[in-house]
């Protein structure tokens, strides 16, 4: 048996009373791609942070290439040949690619020799691994996919043999993700070892050689990817049988609930965020809004939810909504029958220090139901919250607990429960399952579909294309503040949507049956190349990563 690139033995780490890692053992063979999968809070990131020297393990040993290694800080990790690509990039926005690569790894006091050397090495790396990035481009002008490549180049420039990537595809379009996987494949073939942390089963199946499953701080299993199935992995992650597919009957759309005509939004800097958007949403249907983050989806939800002013016409059940002025706030929207599960539950949907009962009426707190003379009727609010929490399976069902003490999934259930319980005609729901564990995802999806089946309309925004495709009846794609096309979810394809998310309608896109494509989508023959997609995204939304 060969010496493994990394071997961890008996790693334990606790934060106060929380045991984040418990007696973890893992063995990663050299020249392989090893996936680590687990729900939020399973301890994946803690384990990698220990490996990268951010945390010190309470117990356990780390062996790098058979050598017992102490990693007190990230300098030691780099010296041991470990490189890390974080979910949120750590790049200096107004530096060039070359300057970013050299930063912190300069050879001496003078910059010039280092930069010249780096330029040569970047050229070599680009040739070896297909990591093409213009060394003189300034970071803020290049797309997210390229920025990620710069992060990988930084690690390789520091002689990394072992590369850890934390949720690398969260900000990428499908085509960019494919490109990343090709690069990772080449790195592996050249003998590098790669650890891929993700919660997406599809990625694990697609690219890894072996996979380790973590659950509640423990390493549950390590298996060869070829010997397992997504269903088995999901079961291992959650600890019980999981429905990976969303079960739903075909939609029976009724009368229009929401009619948007020529809606535009300009932000405080004078940039058009929404540009002449028109959409119709009917009773009993789920419309999924796909797109790379930062292309106007958030703004659309915010205007409809009364958090932002806009221009144009929006009608709800035939009645026009005020888009600016004092009647364009969240209170007026709720009164009109719009429920809103915002994209960022921690900053918007919940007041984190508020208890669950206080949060259970947030936004609806002016309802006379909760009023008892001049005071609020705290007892009946609490009783209502307790009942609601039991119905929506919030754990623990303790209404006196502060929102911040619930897990991400349960926080989201509190928000979803509140909004659905008001019986809205239209539910706006943004990133319903971001940072939510599989069990809760299943539950939240069921609730959304149940609401649809009651004849309500749902506008869904998600950066997870899988979620859009499995949940929606109809899909619209946004790019640069405009709708690029819309059509039935059944005939939509990953690759077809992927091009459209950059405003490009290639053969894949045009092949999607019953889809209406906007005149703004650039028609082209063949499939749009990754370079073309990146150039489009970079031109319009170089700052997409900041929005996420």
């Amino acid at each position: 048996m060969t010496v493994p690139a990394i071997e961890l033995i008996g790693i334990s780490k606790s934060f106060g009373p929380v045991q984040a890692n418990k007696d973890i053992a893992i063995r990663v063979e050299r020249g392989t791609i090893h996936g680590i999968i687990g729900e939020n809070g399973a301890g994946k990131s803690t384990l990698m942070s220990i490996l990268y020297g951010f945390y010190k393990a309470d117990a356990g040993e780390v062996f790098i290439s058979g050598q017992k290694t102490e990693i007190p800080d990230s300098q030691a990790a780099i010296a041991a040949g470990i490189g890390m690509v974080f979910q949120h990039f750590k790049l200096v926005e107004n530096f060039t690619v070359l300057e970013n690569v050299v930063l912190g790894a300069e050879d001496g006091r003078l910059l010039r020799p280092s930069l010249a050397k780096a330029r040569r090495e970047l050229k070599a790396l680009a040739d070896d691994y297909g990591l093409n990035v213009d060394p003189d481009a300034v970071i803020e002008t290049i797309g997210v996919g390229q920025q990620q490549r710069v992060e990988i180049l930084k690690a390789l420039y520091r002689q990394a043999d072992i590369l850890i990537l934390d949720e690398p595809t969260g900000v990428l379009t499908p085509a960019e993700a494919d490109q990343l996987f090709r690069i990772l494949g080449r790195l592996r073939d050249e003998g590098k070892t790669i650890i891929l942390i993700t919660h997406k089963l599809r990625e694990i199946m697609e690219i890894t050689d072996s996979v380790s499953v973590m659950r509640r701080g423990q390493m549950i299993a390590t298996v060869k990817t070829a010997d397992t199935t997504p269903t088995e992995l999901a079961e291992l992650m959650v600890g019980r049988k999981v429905l990976l597919r969303v079960d739903k009957t075909p939609a029976r759309p009724g009368d229009p609930v929401l009619e948007i005509e020529g809606l535009s939004v300009t932000d405080s800097a004078g940039v058009a965020r929404l540009n002449d958007v028109s959409l119709t949403l009917r009773k009993g249907e789920i419309l999924g809004l796909a797109g790379v983050a930062g292309n106007g989806q958030s703004e659309l939800l915010e205007v409809l939810g009364g958090m932002r002013e806009g221009r144009g016409t929006v009608r709800l059940n035939g009645k026009p909504l005020a888009l600016s002025g004092p009647d364009a706030d969240g209170q007026a929207r709720r009164a009109a029958g719009i429920g809103h599960v915002p994209e960022d539950r921690q900053r918007e949907g919940l007041v984190m220090p508020y208890s669950a009962w206080e949060n259970s009426i947030f936004g609806y707190h002016r309802d006379s139901r909760w009023q008892n003379g001049p005071l609020m009727d705290n007892a009946s609010i609490t009783a209502n919250a307790r009942e609601q929490m039991e119905r929506f399976d919030v754990r623990p069902p303790d209404p006196t607990l502060a929102a911040r003490n619930f897990s991400g999934g349960n926080q989201q259930k509190i928000v979803v429960a509140r909004e659905i319980d008001q019986g809205p005609d239209l539910l706006l729901i943004g990133q319903p399952t971001r940072g939510v564990d599989i069990g809760a995802i299943e539950f939240i999806h069921q609730q959304i579909i149940a609401l649809r089946d009651q004849g309500k309309a749902i506008l869904l925004v998600s950066v997870e294309l899988d979620e859009i495709l499995s949940l929606s009846d109809r899909v619209a794609v946004m790019f640069d503040g405009k709708i690029m096309g819309e059509g039935p979810a059944d005939s939509a394809t990953q690759s077809g949507l992927g091009g459209l998310m950059a405003g490009l309608a290639g053969d894949d896109t045009q092949a999607m049956a019953n889809w209406t494509l906007s005149a703004d989508a650039t028609r082209q023959v063949g499939t749009p190349s990754v370079e073309k997609i990146e150039a489009q995204l970079a031109e319009k939304h170089a700052d997409a990563s900041k929005e996420v």
């Binding site: 106060g16 220090p353 936004g363």
Partner: protein, 364 residues
């Protein structure tokens, strides 16, 4: 993440901070060449050892309750109202105008009307910074500080040029009519058969201050407005999501805050001096910040912290009277209390939290 029990958070942390402040103060007293233990005894005797001492302690505490509540209310909306001083000064003007120019038959009516006057003037003085913050984004810390200076100048002008009786030498108003004089604790407690010092200035405003504590508690934790104020303070983005109007909350909160600060003038102007003088506020607006910090913006905490600071004030005056310890040392002690309870809060909290968790784990 588990936390330590709330009683430890609310009581033990400030208590330890206080002991640390006391310890360092003791070192300063030793350095001056006095006996710190004797100083403590003197302070306690002078402020709590007699109804006379209590009368002064509670008189100061009344001031600090009002200004402490003012800061605390603003804190809940995450606003730092440093303008309590100026709002109290202008509140004093309100009291003086009401008492001098309205025909008031009895102290009960006078107190009611003067309370409205004090609150209205204080609130009006807070309204301008609030409006500037809500509409123009001018930071309220800056504007309220500047409004303190403007208020002081305004009072100076009013006293010298407008309100000073003819031929009077000092910048102060005439004495208020007898009917507006508030009963002291001596007068209030006598019918109950309780002997209270005649000379001490504590008066019926103390009861008003206690009532204010209760009302603020109700406002913040039991009303819809309080719910919105706290939500806005915790997260302004969440407030926007819920349709809570930030301008409305900013303005309303500051009106309440300024009104409370203004009401402090009732105690000094109407209750004690019975006329408006130049230095009637004497820094109580700033002490209110320390009181609110130490009381963790909770009315009960503010009440206790106000009494503590009342004790420090009165005890400090006694020290200055009987020893070579200067009155300024009390300012040092107050500064240390603020430093430890406010700025260095986590220095005490973190080790204490760890200690609690460690003992709990051992038990578990």
């Amino acid at each position: 993440m588990e936390r330590m029990p709330s009683w430890a958070d609310a009581l033990l942390v400030p208590l330890i901070s206080l002991l640390l402040a006391a310890f360092i103060s003791a070192l300063v007293i030793v350095a001056i060449g006095e006996d710190p233990l004797a100083a403590v005894v003197l302070m306690v005797k002078g402020s709590l050892g007699s109804t006379y001492g209590w009368g002064y302690t509670l008189y100061y505490a009344t001031n600090f309750m009002f200004t402490g509540l003012a800061v605390a209310v603003a804190f809940h909306a995450r606003m730092f109202n440093i303008g309590g001083e100026g709002q109290a000064i202008v509140g004093g003007l309100g009291v003086a105008l009401v008492c001098l120019y309205l025909p008031l038959p009895h102290w009960t009516v006078a107190l009611l009307v003067a309370t409205l006057g004090a609150a209205a003037f204080g609130a009006a003085w807070a309204l301008i910074p609030a409006w500037l913050q809500a509409k123009r984004g001018s930071h309220i810390v800056i504007t309220t500080i500047m409004f303190n200076f403007i208020a002081a100048s305004l009072l100076n002008y009013m006293l010298v040029n407008v309100l000073r009786p003819p031929r009077a030498q000092d910048p102060a108003t005439a004495r208020f009519p007898e009917a507006t004089n508030l009963p002291t604790l001596h007068e209030l407690l006598a019918p109950l058969g309780i002997e209270f010092s005649k000379a001490a200035p504590a008066n019926v405003t103390l009861i008003l201050a206690l009532l204010a504590c209760l009302l603020v508690w109700l406002l913040i934790w039991r009303t819809r407005l309080g719910y919105e104020i706290r939500a806005f303070g915790h997260s302004s983005t969440a407030a926007r999501y819920a349709g809570i109007n930030p301008v409305r909350i900013t303005v309303l909160t500051m009106l309440v805050s300024g009104g409370l600060a203004g009401m402090m003038a009732l105690n000094t102007t109407m209750g004690e001096a019975e006329r408006l003088m130049l230095n009637s506020v004497e820094g109580a607006g700033f002490i209110g910040i320390a009181v609110a910090l130490m009381g963790r913006s909770h009315p009960l905490g503010v009440l206790m912290a106000a009494i503590l600071f009342g004790f420090l004030y009165q005890g400090g005056a006694e020290l200055a009277l009987w020893t070579s310890i200067p009155r300024e040392l009390i300012v040092v002690i107050q500064a240390l209390v603020i430093l430890f309870t406010g700025a260095l809060d986590n220095m005490v909290r973190m080790p204490l939290e760890r200690l609690f968790l460690a003992t709990r784990r051992k038990k578990g």
